[in-house]
Assembly symmetry: none
Homo-oligomer: 248 residues x 2
DNA sequence: CGTTTTTTTGCTTGTTTGTGCAAGTTTGTC
DNA sequence: GACAAACTTGCACAAACAAGCAAAAAAACG
């Protein structure tokens, strides 16, 4: 087996499981530990993964699991600022959950008149601070991980909504694979949210770009706006600029 | 499991529950106490949590724990403590909103296995911190005043629920007039909550006793438990002791 | 084809890291 | 103030690691 093939194999494992063990790779690839270690080091040098004692972890692993001290808060605030420009008086807006969306909601202009549907209790509470915003919280099972409501009941209710704009955070975005996710329930949820909104804005910090996870939500064409903390002309966005996608 | 993963796991637990017990982590992660202690110490060195005898606490929890603005907080904590005794494993419980209920939810025993329906987003978020509690948030219009969902849609959904116990705070209780309220919508809501629960516990600080408001929710006979911060033999409760009402 | 150069791999050595055990100390509780 | 649980410290052992070296494989060249 060629080195390049090994690297690809390792990266597939990483994207699938968020981690690999050196010992596992030794068995699976039938090479010495040293070779694996060298492979991992090279992949680290390319910035593709994160090495720890005993193996390696996916780079996106952190962002999805560690909201300890609101990871990358500055970036998220910058994104939120940009996103507020999409919101106009009279709109019907549907939002997901997550720290980025929450940041956005905190930055809405006072006096904005709009209707918000949301699956996030925290977002609902924050929205309630605005006098002229009508808030509808979509009920259902409550996810301990994502802190949003989910499940069949939520999806049924989403089907009854017609929103002008859907705002969602994301755990991964890839120019070819589009929007992807790790959990089946969240995947279904996002599909339903997309389906009931005229346009969709994806709020995505740059380190989640160019990553594809297990489950596909939608192709990139289904997204209307991509909002990152980067400058519109940043090189990292080159692959997205070709698509008919409004980049903010 | 890799060390880094353990650390992430611990931080997730901390963010979820605001605290972790060393003994729990030993079981959950299947490593020795020593390892857990070392992990905790390392996380302390990174400034991510506080270590205490028996486990560790979230850092943000303490700094943000000045809910001292909550009116009559001590009384509410006392009430909450009593109310937890009503809750047993396996129960299906319906809760309203309000600071007293929120306080109660914070005091539930770790490891409680139960199903909670709630109309309060904040209660839902708090409940989500317990591993063995299933949380269903009832969705609908979100009230800026009461911080709960309300309206026809909520009432329709309540009609589908069969709860063992309903926990609600109250703005007034009167020996003759029973449970009363000021707002039409909340009135309707409470009626619906009562209707779908076998028993109802009313959490009521003493200064709201003997007050009757505009709209009648139910006679005092419809209530199973009255929980105040007072001693069961307090004179203020005399008028209620005559009724067939369990006073705690 | 053979020979030289480069790359890749596995082995050896010595080092670091992670974990559990044992002994003694502190802390919380009744 | 006694007892158990939780904690600290030091130590030992195994697993994982880094660096240098030599054999093997692949590539380059005439």
């Amino acid at each position: 087996m060629l080195k390049k093939e090994r690297h690809d194999f390792i990266m597939r494992q990483i994207n699938l499981h968020n981690r690999v063990l050196t010992s596992d790779l030794v068995q699976l690839l039938n090479v010495s530990e040293d070779t694996i270690r060298r492979d991992l080091q090279e992949l680290v040098d390319e910035g593709l993964l994160y090495k720890v004692h005993g193996g390696a972890l996916s780079k996106s692993y952190h962002s999805s699991f560690d909201d300890s001290t609101v990871y990358a808060r500055d970036s998220k605030i910058a994104i939120a600022k940009k996103a507020t420009n999409l919101i106009k008086d009279g709109m019907v807006i549907l939002t997901g959950g997550g720290t980025t969306i929450l940041e956005l909601v905190k930055q809405l202009p006072q006096g904005l008149t709009a209707t918000f549907f949301t699956i996030s209790p925290l977002v609902a509470v924050e929205l309630a601070k605005y006098n002229n915003i009508e808030v509808i919280l979509i009920g259902g099972l409550f996810s301990k991980n994502s802190q949003v409501t989910y499940g069949g009941h939520v999806i049924t209710q989403l089907a009854e909504i017609k929103a002008d704009l859907c705002l969602m955070g994301t755990s991964a975005l890839h120019p070819e694979e589009g929007l992807t996710d790790t959990y089946w329930e969240i995947n279904q949820l996002k599909k339903a949210m997309l389906a009931c909104s005229k346009r969709t804005a994806v709020l995505c910090i740059s380190e989640k770009l160019d990553i594809a996870l297990r489950l596909k939500v939608c192709p990139i064409e289904s997204i209307s706006y991509l909002i990152t903390e980067l400058d519109v002309n940043d090189d990292l966005l080159a692959n997205y600029r070709t698509k008919e996608l409004n980049i903010l």
